[in-house]
């Protein structure tokens, strides 16, 4: 980590040259406007390391730019989308309760479709010039971001196991099924529509369909039938072999980690490639856990922050989003002792912790966002009643 510091300072020092004079003037106007504004940042609040990191960023931006950031810990981003839509519906278009939110592709699509987002702003941030554009940062679940959200971090679906209890990790979906047949009741995934559950479904779908090209276009009924058919026949076979015969599902990955730590499950799941290392350090998972991915690769995506159109503190929100994207904030975020969320600035894959997902795990792009809703709906229709 230390060896990266000169590089960091080089980037910081060259920062002013990267910004053209005209936009610098615009930016200083935004900074002036932002001073004293209060920004309600709505973010998933289920992880303390993330909350602590955001509190740190809030303090830094308060010192530096006089923007007061208040973290609103939420459990479900869809609920925030609902709130924003309801506010717009009630005629509140200038002083909404959300100024900046952490968003995933599915909710971004809804916000964008319903016209609930602030106009293009993300590419005008000074830090945006440093973003690694070889990462898929200009589309989110195959939807163009159009500068309406700013990249924050990278993530890749990761399977966590313990070598003492699982000698051979499954290389694909079929081997996973074989493992479930050998050791019934020892595998699980959270209940749909949990974010990680839906991601796991997409991973299986990509694997079973050989990354069908249709997954990257808007969904149609016929294509949905065709592409998902192997998934349903796979799940029909897998579910009776799952934990509690799939009559109950873990409520989220947090509960999965706990069941995994106590030996009730053989594997856990995360969307952060470094999570196993983090959780081991904090004592949540036992010593010796490791991460792995399927041979074909694992679902990866970039997570973003977006400004609702009815925010009353848009300038403040932009200044905070800019800080989140700054080398200082991104480097700290990637630090395993802080959060361990991969940076969107630096593409060169840093050496990873031995417990983390191997850095050479291929990256499977997210399917088009329109697939999510029918996928969740069909799952609930088929398996929602329990057994």
């Amino acid at each position: 980590m230390m060896s990266k510091l000169p590089l960091l300072s080089a980037i910081v020092l060259s920062l002013p040259q990267l910004i053209t004079t005209a936009s610098a003037q615009d930016w200083s106007a935004i900074e002036a406007q932002a001073r004293g504004q209060k920004v309600y940042f709505n973010a998933w609040g289920g992880s303390d390391v993330i909350n602590d990191y955001i509190e740190w960023a809030a303090e830094r931006v308060a010192q530096e730019s006089g923007v007061e950031v208040e973290l609103v810990k939420i459990s479900d981003a869809a609920a925030v989308v609902t709130r924003i839509a309801t506010e717009f519906g009630a005629g509140n278009t200038t002083d909404g309760s959300v100024d900046l939110m952490w968003v995933n592709g599915e909710n971004f699509r809804r916000l964008k479709q319903e016209g609930l987002l602030a106009d293009s702003w993300a590419t005008e941030l000074p830090s945006a010039a440093l973003v690694d554009y070889s990462l898929p940062v200009t589309t989110d679940f195959s939807i163009p971001t159009d500068g309406q959200e700013s990249p924050w971090g990278g993530a890749q679906l990761t399977l966590i196991y313990h070598p003492d209890r699982l000698e051979q990790t499954p290389a694909d979906a079929d081997e996973l099924l074989a493992l479930a047949q050998q050791q019934p009741g020892k595998l699980a995934y959270p209940r749909v529509p949990d974010f990680h559950a839906t991601s796991f479904l997409k991973q299986l779908l990509l694997d079973l369909s050989n990354e069908d090209a249709a997954l990257y276009s808007p969904v149609t009924e016929a294509e949905f039938e065709r592409v998902t058919a192997p998934l349903w026949s796979y799940l029909d076979k897998l579910h009776p072999l799952l934990w509690r015969e799939a009559s109950a599902f873990p409520q989220g990955i947090a509960q999965m980690h706990s069941l995994f730590a106590d030996g009730e499950l053989l594997m856990s799941l995360s969307f952060n490639p470094n999570d196993a290392a983090n959780l081991m350090r904090s004592g949540t998972l036992p010593e010796g856990v490791r991460s792995f991915g399927f041979e074909r690769g694992m679902l990866g995506n970039i997570h973003f922050v977006a400004i609702p159109g009815n925010s009353g503190s848009k300038a403040g929100a932009k200044v905070f989003a800019n800080f989140l994207l700054s080398p200082e904030a991104q480097l700290r975020k990637a630090d395993l002792d802080v959060w361990g969320d991969p940076s969107v600035l630096d593409q060169s894959k840093a050496t990873r912790d031995p417990a983390a997902l191997p850095a050479d795990t291929p990256w499977l792009a997210e399917p088009h966002a329109s697939w999510v809703e029918p996928l969740e709906k069909a799952w609930l229709e088929r398996y929602g009643a329990g057994s």
């Binding site: 709505n42 509140n92 799939a246 036992p286 329990g386």
Partner: protein
């Protein structure tokens, strides 16, 4: 006269806070009810969710009734009765959520009980598909409430004399309880049973911790649909909320008929044996359970690592306590104090002005929480009220007011009229009479009302979250987000903080009158 005006003003303010009850009707016109209902009923999740909802609601009622029958039947008018009555407020003060978290730590897969009986290798779990564990948890928790209501009924009526007479005539305890006490007490418990049914039916937080997950209960399902980002799904959530209201109406009708099953039959002379041998052991087991749950919460809060099958933490740490923020505590204290204080002032003004027809103030106790919160949300949105401390305070009052009214009204009516007459004849103005005599006489019920109001505010989850736009963190919302976060160490620390504040407020309320009036025995 001016007092009456102030009273009317207080009544109007309270009525305004109750508006959400009426706004329930509004969405009806916006929904295509038949088609939405059809869609809900035909969805695959509906039937299992309805079953677990009915099992947990009826189960909690039956278990609470059975337990309170066993305990009170065994203890009533015995030497241990008074001590039990004194323990009840403390048991009542244990927040539902803290109790649920304790049970979760005890009974979750690879939880403490499974570790204790590890050699037997049996899987023990909460969150069963039928909502049985939820029913048991709710049943135990509500049994203290029922015992307390029964105790209050027995204090007021002449049943003690009847009990004594029957005993001297040689009837055994079981027969007297069955044939004399139950038929007379049960009809008076109907309101309490309604409140239990309304709570069990619509509890989201207890159901989330202990209820089935696949699918969850109707209340949790409605809640998650209401939060969905598509308008169609939200409309379904609203319809399901209304369905919960209808279910509550049905439950109310059934509960109203219940006492008919236990009509009074005067003992015709045949003496039957039976003495409630189970009551005392069951009471001891339940008290032990509470201690174990408290201990588990305490242990987890000081844990670094504690993996199966260890019975005690393997590594200890203070880090969970380090991570506790002060803000939720301060918000909880300020909201609880302000809402209980405001509610007491409003209720006192209404009672003092002698206005009748304030019984509707109890209504929120018998309605499911979810539709009320939806109504509150629509009103705050319509009025453009910013989500924050003050808005949440107003939201809490909808549940704090009825409880405060429930405690203060009988106490107010029981004020000794002769003493008030003497005070008036000594020349006290009406204001002095209230400030110097009535408030002093009411010290005990006022403290009890404050403690109850505070604990009701403390327990609010849905209104705090929804009306506060998630901006306000209280001990209750933090405990639930710790539960979702899955880290049992942080969950333990947060639940312990919740439990400690609840118990502290209760013991303060208990001891304050004794400190204030240390020299006046009759006031204790």
């Amino acid at each position: 006269m001016s007092l009456r005006l102030v009273g009317i003003a207080a009544l109007l303010i309270s009525a305004a806070l109750y508006l959400p009850v009426l706004t329930l009707v509004v969405p009806l016109s916006q929904l295509e009810l038949p088609s939405a209902l059809r869609e809900i009923i035909t969805s695959s999740q509906f039937t299992p969710a309805l079953i677990s909802t009915l099992v947990s609601t009826f189960g909690s009622l039956i278990i609470a009734l059975l337990l309170s029958y066993l305990l009170m039947g065994a203890l009533v008018f015995t030497p241990g009765y008074r001590r039990f009555a004194r323990q009840l407020p403390l048991l009542l003060a244990v927040p539902h959520l803290a109790f649920a978290v304790g049970l979760y730590l005890l009974l979750s897969p690879k939880g403490w009980l499974e570790r204790l009986v590890a050699p037997l290798d049996i899987g023990i779990w909460v969150q069963d598909s039928y909502g049985l564990s939820l029913a048991v948890a709710l049943g135990i928790k509500e049994s203290w409430f029922l015992c307390w209501m029964i105790w209050a009924q027995l204090q007021r009526s002449a049943l003690a004399d009847q009990f004594l007479v029957a005993q001297t005539q040689g009837y055994q305890r079981a027969q007297i309880v069955r044939e004399i006490l139950v038929p007379q007490v049960l009809p008076k418990l109907r309101w309490a049973l309604l409140a239990i049914a309304a709570y069990s039916l619509s509890s989201v937080e207890m159901a989330w911790v202990l209820g089935p997950t696949h699918p969850p209960t109707l209340a949790v399902l409605a809640w998650s649909w209401l939060l969905d980002s598509t308008p169609q799904q939200r409309a379904l959530g609203l319809t399901l909320t209304l369905f919960l209201m209808m279910l509550m109406l049905l439950l109310a009708l059934l509960i109203w008929q219940l006492p008919q099953l236990f009509r009074m039959r005067l003992p015709l002379g045949s003496r039957r044996a039976g003495r409630f041998g189970l009551g005392v052991p069951v009471k001891r087991a339940l008290l032990l359970l509470h201690l174990v749950l408290g201990a588990l919460i305490l242990l987890w809060s000081f844990t670094q690592s504690w993996f199966y099958p260890a019975l005690l933490p393997q590594r200890w740490s203070l880090s969970a306590w380090d991570s506790l923020a002060l803000e939720p505590l301060l918000t909880t204290l300020s909201l609880g104090t302000a809402s209980a204080g405001l509610a007491i002032i409003l209720v006192l003004l209404i009672l003092e002005s002698g206005l009748k027809r304030a019984g509707w103030m109890l209504l929120p106790l018998f309605l499911p929480v979810l539709p009320l919160v939806v109504g509150q949300y629509q009103i705050t949105l319509g009025l453009g009220l910013a989500p924050g401390w003050a808005t949440v305070l107003l939201a809490h009052l909808l549940w704090v007011l009825p409880y405060v009214y429930l405690v203060l009204k009988p106490a107010y009516q029981a004020l000794p009229q002769d003493q008030l007459l003497i005070a008036r004849s000594l020349g006290l103005t009406p204001l002095d009479l209230v400030l110097r005599v009535k408030l002093a006489l009411l010290a005990r019920p006022l403290c009890a009302a404050f403690a109850l109001g505070f604990s009701v505010s403390l327990a609010q989850y849905l209104p705090t979250l929804f009306i506060g736009a998630g901006r306000l963190e209280t001990l209750t919302t933090e405990t639930l987000s710790r539960f979702a976060g899955g880290d049992k160490r942080l969950l333990g620390a947060q639940a312990l903080a919740l439990l400690a504040v609840a118990l502290l407020i209760y013991s303060l309320a208990q001891s304050l009158p004794q400190i204030l009036y240390a020299k006046r025995k009759a006031m204790h």
